[in-house]
């Protein structure tokens, strides 16, 4: 069942695709997360962090997804503004609460790791502050979509705001290199390869795949809901017009 980009513009076809794909992605997410947790339970403690390194197996995938989800929304925003793809705004709007949730998780688990390791819940360093700004951006976008009732008008305003917000993504990624921060520099995605031992890298990557599958499943389900919500709105307007 190969669908082209233009065929996917048909919401009915997209709903059929979601019905076919969603059980598989959700099932895969559960299995991979279970496998990841099993690997985490057998992974060693860090020689400096001790057992608090276990927080990293949920903090790091959450932080990656907070940025990945926003990058996905930026591609959708381009789809809205440039190609006027009917599902682009649906994709962006459905992704925002999920991105906000993973950003919240990254902030909270980072704080819970920071208290025993840094001796503080929070510092206003570049990495933490830029991720907090990302979280506020997500909340602002959710508020924007809820404020403007007409989806077409909301789509344009949200797409512009999303694209403006993308400037924050490289700031988050490179903040640990550009400024002197308390947050450690990248240890997985580096030009000279990961600096983490394989016994910790494998569970981390498996957890990241599990989190990503969970995010994609939630996103597909939320997109389906948003398409149905827009149908309800259209039918409601038709009913109101017919009653006049």
């Amino acid at each position: 069942m190969a669908l082209s980009f233009t065929e996917l513009a048909n919401p009915t076809r997209f709903l059929a695709l979601v019905s076919a794909v969603l059980p598989w992605t959700a099932g895969a997410a559960v299995l991979v997360l279970a496998w990841g947790l099993w690997l985490v339970s057998g992974s060693p403690e860090d020689y400096q962090q001790g057992a608090t390194v276990y927080i990293m197996y949920i903090h790091v995938p959450s932080a990656w997804l907070s940025m990945f989800t926003y990058a996905m929304m930026a591609v959708s925003a381009l789809g809205s503004l440039v190609w006027r793809h009917p599902l682009a705004d649906v994709a962006a709007k459905a992704a925002a609460p999920i991105g906000a949730a993973f950003t919240f998780l990254a902030l909270v688990t980072g704080s819970l790791w920071g208290r025993p390791m840094w001796g503080t819940w929070w510092v206003w360093d570049a990495r933490l502050t830029s991720v907090l700004i990302l979280f506020i951006m997500y909340l602002g976008l959710i508020a924007l979509w809820r404020t403007i009732e007409d989806p077409t008008r909301a789509a344009r305003a949200a797409a512009v705001l999303i694209l403006v917000g993308t400037v924050n993504l490289p700031i988050i990624k490179f903040s640990v290199d550009w400024w002197n921060t308390l947050h450690q520099p990248a240890s997985v995605f580096r030009m000279d390869g990961p600096t983490i031992d394989g016994s910790m890298l494998t569970p981390l990557l498996v957890m990241a795949v599990g989190f990503t599958l969970a995010m994609l499943s939630l996103h597909l389900a939320a997109m389906r809901n948003e398409i149905l919500r827009r149908r309800v709105r259209t039918l409601g307007l038709l009913a109101a017009g017919g009653a006049r």
Binding site: T52, I55, V108, A222
Partner: protein
């Protein structure tokens, strides 16, 4: 189990509990929202309100029925 996690066990357990809670809330959100939208759509269709494309599709299938 808690003892095996050392002196910072509470931080680790709370981190995993919050992660599980957030994922559970996201799952509950999409499931409850889906049920609500399907119910609203069903109510509207029961009142005879149909999308133009759905009405056209139905009319097309009616025409194919041999008389």
């Amino acid at each position: 189990m808690m003892a095996a996690l050392g002196p910072h066990a509470a931080f680790i357990v709370v981190s995993y509990a919050i992660a599980a809670l957030v994922v559970a809330l996201l799952v509950a959100w999409v499931v409850i929202d889906h049920r609500a939208q399907v119910r609203r759509l069903g109510d509207l269709e029961a009142r005879g309100v149909r999308r133009r494309s759905a009405a056209r599709a139905e009319a097309g299938s009616d025409r194919k029925v041999p008389s």
